[in-house]
């Protein structure tokens, strides 16, 4: 059974089908988009359900020789590292598509690119062949370029080109690293699992150069300081549904790449790099939070808070411990859910008020209880309130890093305080205080928006109370991974 291929290419089928539908039939286009991503979601749900939690080995493997001359194969598989993110990708795309039913400009192209983007993202997380991985990696770039450049905000062209060139630059350097691995493996291979087995053959110097090349590509995606400046611009200019995927999934490709390729294939270089990595992590956490505090625009604030949250992922990875890696993987999932819904909620208010200026509101809590309630829950989750998803993952990241880097961890705790400060200040300005009568006529959330956001909020609560929902899948793989990394 080729479940993974079905998951990856179901959206592609939808995209091709959409090409065949006339422009004017908006409903049909929306229906096909939602249906194909729903099919993808159902398959992913089945994958999640059928996934064997007791093993660290790759599952649902598909391997077909693709370009035999270069030993390249179509090689897919999932383990605990990827399965949760595959499910997250399918879910976030589905809710973003539902949310994006309000798009009226060039609907056909919009959903075509959107589904193509989903193919690319899913492909990245299930590829076990570096060449295939790279193809999917680049495949995400083009749809994203158009999605930002056509349907974005006032600075959309600038944001799109910046995103495109910046990421392309990173991925080209990454390609050099991939090729270096290929030519130094014996026999030459792009197979990630085979490369990881050969890791002991690579001398430290070689490992360091390749690690740095790959790191550049991944760091831009994460984004790790100082390669983060494309992010606020792209997130803010992108339409709501696209921002969700940018923050929810695309950023994770960087962390995922490090965990899937850099750490197992280049363990010596990883160890060598960790003293730098922890510093970058702490900068991401504190700097990201502080810059977020300076924002007047809701969406920018959420965007910068992502830099802070990705810092926790990096913190968790920096100690190379089981606890920390588990925390980092879980943090990817929880950040996707939490920040994804925060972007949707910002979209909700922007669609109504046509402004995202934090100071423009006031007292909305009394008149928009549903919106205020959901926003408060997700903000609390984002600042790490126990009982909601963000707490467990952040705590595990802290716990995992503490033994090796106690002072760095203590310093990065400041990030928690600053995050609490700017989010609570935002809540105070937007929802509390006397009601700003200017917004008296606005309706509370509608069904489309609730259908998009409530599932994410529910999952935020479920994972917060019952983290085993994810950790049981993640842990065996991570335990194994930490074993081979620290070999």
């Amino acid at each position: 059974m080729s479940l993974l291929s079905l998951i990856v290419f179901a959206p592609l089928a939808g995209a091709l089908l959409i090409l065949a539908i006339p422009n004017t039939r908006t409903k049909a286009i929306q229906g096909v988009a939602a249906a194909s991503s729903a099919v993808c979601m159902i398959f992913s749900g089945y994958l999640y359900y059928a996934f064997d939690k007791s093993t660290a080995a790759m599952q649902f493997i598909e391997k077909v020789s693709w370009i035999p001359a270069f030993n390249i194969s179509y090689h897919l598989g999932v383990d605990g590292l990827s399965v949760t993110i595959v499910a997250l990708t399918a879910l976030l795309t589905l809710v973003s598509i539902i949310y994006s039913f309000n798009i009226t400009l060039r609907v056909k192209e919009f959903f075509f690119w959107f589904l193509l983007l989903e193919v690319g993202m899913l492909g990245v997380f299930v590829s076990l062949d570096l060449f295939l991985f790279y193809v999917f990696w680049e495949l995400t770039l083009v749809p994203m370029y158009f999605l930002i450049g056509v349907w974005g905000g006032p600075q959309k062209e600038y944001a799109a080109i910046k995103f495109f060139v910046y990421t392309l630059f990173g991925s080209l350097v990454m390609l050099l690293g991939i090729l270096a691995l290929y030519f130094n493996s014996a026999p030459h291979t792009f197979d990630m699992l085979e490369l990881a087995r050969q890791s002991s053959l690579f001398p430290l110097n070689f490992q360091i150069w390749v690690f740095l090349a790959l790191y550049l590509g991944f760091a831009i995606k994460i984004p790790a300081f100082p390669f983060h400046t494309w992010l606020p611009l792209a997130h803010v200019e992108a339409p709501t549904g696209v921002s969700v995927l940018l923050a929810g999934i695309l950023l994770k490709m960087g962390i995922y790449g490090l965990l899937r390729v850099s750490f197992p294939v280049l363990p010596l270089a990883a160890k060598w790099f960790m003293p730098f990595f922890i510093v970058i992590a702490v900068i991401n956490i504190i700097y990201g939070a502080l810059v977020a505090m300076a924002q007047k625009d809701l969406k920018k604030m959420v965007a910068y808070s992502s830099i802070n949250h990705m810092g926790y992922c990096m913190l968790g990875m920096a100690a190379m411990t089981t606890i920390g890696f588990n925390g980092a993987v879980l943090q990817m999932v929880t950040h996707g859910l939490i920040t994804g819904s925060l972007f949707l909620l910002v979209g909700v208010i922007y669609d109504r008020a046509h402004t995202r200026d934090i100071d423009a509101f006031g007292g909305l809590g009394a008149r928009f209880p549903i919106f205020a309630g959901l926003m408060t829950i997700q903000v609390m989750a984002s600042l790490g309130l126990p009982g909601l998803a963000g707490f467990v993952s952040e705590f595990l990241c802290f716990l995992g890093a503490f033994e090796a880097w106690p002072y760095y961890v203590a310093a990065s705790a400041i990030g928690i305080l600053v995050t609490a400060a700017f989010f609570l200040r935002m809540i105070e300005k937007v929802f509390l205080g006397p009601f700003n009568e200017k917004w008296a006529g606005l309706p509370d959330m509608n069904l489309r928006e609730l259908v998009a956001i409530v599932p994410l909020a529910v999952l935020t609560l479920v994972i917060g109370l019952w983290p085993r929902f994810c950790l049981d899948l993640i842990d065996p793989t991570i335990t194994y991974l930490v074993g081979i990394v620290n070999r």
Partner: protein
């Protein structure tokens, strides 16, 4: 019996959800459900307490289920019950129940009545979870959750900007302390390899944890308590927290949540007891808090804020007791204080409900209009001040005795604060209930509160009167809550009788002085205030603590905007866009080079070739004679060369 303890928080949690979702259709808009669960919880706690003091329970009791595991580390959800837990359970459930009953009257007609009860139940659930948790991870989670409930309830009337601000301030100030708690928790985990309280205590008892590490972890954890229990210098949030409804102040900001810090120190007392430095930190922080807060209460005119300062001060006593080695004394004071301070807040709420102001300068003479409120407030005040034989006398005496046994200076600070306590309570009592009404309109409007509010007052008053005496009879409390480990220092021998005699005398004299001054000579306090204006101003400004922290906030804001400018104008504009600009310029240079050098070279090659072609064409005349001539010439030249060679 003990097997069902875990249901307590779960049921409260569930009922919070039920009230939020279905409150509209429940009797009393959900209040009934909350109260029913709280009553059941109190009944359970009371039964546990009775059985425990009869020695019928096998304590400590512990049970847990796995929650999640990563690698070899396992997190659990579980219950740990010992005498300390039971003492706290009784306090939490009793005050929660009475406050919920009282709130029916106090919150009547509030548009968010339903939500209020949901929040109260959520708070109770979190507080119960904190009380019974068997591990520090879940303890920390509940610790944060009670903080959020406090945030939501302080800002319950969020249309008022001051309430919204106060909620935020409380959350962030306590969060500052919680950073210490988090790091302390992490370091405790790496000292012991576990979050389980029983294992941590066991490892501390057998001396497995190095004293230095234990001390560091203990002090870091204590930072969390400094925030949560409003100790110096993080005490600034509690007075502002009075923006919330009065019953909330009684439950959260007097009896339970603010006592969580004290409870935490008691819970991990074996760890604290490994390090004299940690215990001294606790004791001195407590002593300084007791004194500073009491002094601030002396000049305050807001009735609820006087009580808030008083709460801070009494929390300082509890810490003082624990830090000085008086484990039982500190917890005893926590217990009695919960009753009389909840009583005082509820009585103050009853007053505020009647006159619609917090300002004592607009009150006066209310004792005739509100006799029940007056009597109960008076009893609560006597208990707080420590007049024998009311509750506070026993517990405060125990704390002071413990302080004296440890260090005379600690005792001196505590004794001065005790005198201040008596004075400000006399002042509050007189200004509110005695003398002439200051604001006739408000006075005329005032009336006694309904029985649903005075009922809880009477019950709490009864507890305030007898709990100290009852619990110290046959050393009931001491047998329930005591520390069996070894303290890291020697204690001096203290005569309890002498301390009690002194404390009682000071309380009576100081209270008498305060009452006399404010009742018969109101000019003198005003005159003193004028004469010592700088001192009064300093106290009004809370020793500049607020200003200090606001500076801190402003600094953070400035740093954040500087970093943002750096991000935008340096990192992005120069490093990234600058690079793009440079690339573009380079490409222009390359294009010029391309056009003028590379392309020109290509063109030149072409030109040269063409010219060469033209030259060569000259020879291609197409006339056969010419070709023959060339051949002949060539042949002769080659021949000549060959022969010459």
């Amino acid at each position: 019996m003990l097997e069902y303890v875990f249901i307590l928080p779960l049921l409260s949690f569930a009922v919070a959800g039920v009230i939020l979702a279905f409150g509209k259709w429940l009797p009393g808009r959900g209040a009934s459900a909350g109260i029913a669960v709280a009553a059941w919880g109190f009944a359970q706690a009371a039964i546990l307490f009775t059985k425990a003091i009869q020695g019928k329970l096998a304590l400590p009791y512990e049970v847990s289920i796995p929650w999640f595991s990563v690698g070899s580390t396992q997190a659990t959800l579980g219950v740990y019950v010992d005498g300390l837990t039971i003492a706290m359970l009784v306090v939490v459930t009793a005050v929660s129940l009475l406050v919920q009953i009282y709130s029916i009257g106090y919150m009547r007609g509030d548009p968010r009545f339903k939500r209020y009860y949901a929040y109260l139940s959520l708070f109770t659930a979190s507080m119960l979870g904190l009380t019974i948790s068997d591990n520090m991870l879940v303890f920390f989670m509940c610790w944060e959750l009670v903080g959020v409930c406090s945030y939501l309830l302080i800002g319950f009337w969020f249309e008022k900007p001051s309430a919204a601000y106060a909620g935020k301030k409380a959350f962030i100030t306590t969060k500052l302390g919680d950073l210490g708690f988090l790091v302390g928790l992490l370091s405790l985990f790496y000292c012991t390899g576990t979050f389980r309280i029983s294992e941590i205590l066991e490892l501390a008892h057998i001396g497995f944890i190095p004293p230095a590490a234990a001390g560091a972890a203990a002090i870091l954890l204590f930072l969390g308590a400094v925030g949560k229990s409003a100790q110096f210098p993080l005490l600034i949030w509690l007075p502002d927290a009075m923006e919330g409804p009065s019953p909330v102040s009684a439950l959260i900001h007097a009896a339970t949540m603010v006592a969580a810090g004290v409870y935490m120190v008691a819970r991990l007392y074996a760890v604290y007891a490994l390090s004299p430095v940690a215990l001294d930190t606790v004791a001195w922080t407590g002593a300084i808090t007791a004194l500073t807060a009491a002094s601030m209460a002396l000049v305050c005119f807001d009735l609820k804020r006087v009580l808030a300062f008083s709460t801070v001060s009494q929390l300082g006593y509890m810490m003082l007791g624990l830090g000085a080695g008086g484990f039982t004394a500190g917890m005893f004071h926590l217990t009695t204080h919960a009753y009389f301070k909840a009583l005082l807040f509820l009585a103050a709420g009853s007053v505020i409900h009647a006159v619609h102001t917090n300002d004592m300068r607009e009150m006066g003479g209310l004792k005739n209009k509100m006799p029940v409120t007056y009597i109960t407030f008076l009893l609560g005040a006597l208990a707080l001040v420590g007049i024998p034989p009311f509750a506070g006398f026993f517990s405060k005496d125990a704390v002071l005795a413990a302080a004296l046994a440890r260090n005379p200076y600690l005792y001196a600070v505590g004794a001065v604060a005790a005198a201040m306590t008596a004075f400000y309570m006399a002042r509050a009592l007189v200004m509110t209930f005695h003398g002439e009404p200051k604001d006739m309109k408000k006075y005329d409007h005032a009336h006694e509160s309904p029985p649903v509010m005075t009922g809880p007052l009477i019950l709490l008053a009864a507890a305030s009167v007898v709990s100290g005496w009852a619990l110290s009879r046959h050393e009931i409390f001491e047998r329930l809550v005591n520390f069996e480990g070894v303290l890291p220092f020697e204690l001096h021998h203290v005569s309890h009788g002498a301390v009690a005699l002194y404390a009682g005398t000071v309380a009576v004299l100081s209270m008498g002085l305060g009452a006399w001054l404010y009742k018969s000579k109101p000019g003198i306090p005003a005159m003193l205030r004028g004469k010592f204006a700088p001192v009064a101003g300093l106290l009004d400004r809370r020793y500049g603590l607020d200003a200090f922290f606001l500076k801190f906030v402003a600094l953070g804001d400035r740093l954040s905007s500087v970093l943002f400018i750096f991000d935008l104008n340096f990192l992005d504009a120069i490093a990234i866009d600058g690079w793009a600009w440079l690339t573009e310029k380079l490409s222009r240079i390359q294009r010029w080079f391309d056009d003028n050098v590379v392309d020109a070279a290509v063109d030149a090659t072409g030109t040269v070739t063409l010219c060469a072609g033209r030259l060569a064409r000259l020879a291609q005349t197409g006339i056969v004679q010419n070709y023959l001539l060339f051949i002949a010439v060539a042949v002769s030249v080659f021949a000549a060369l060959a022969f010459a060679g």
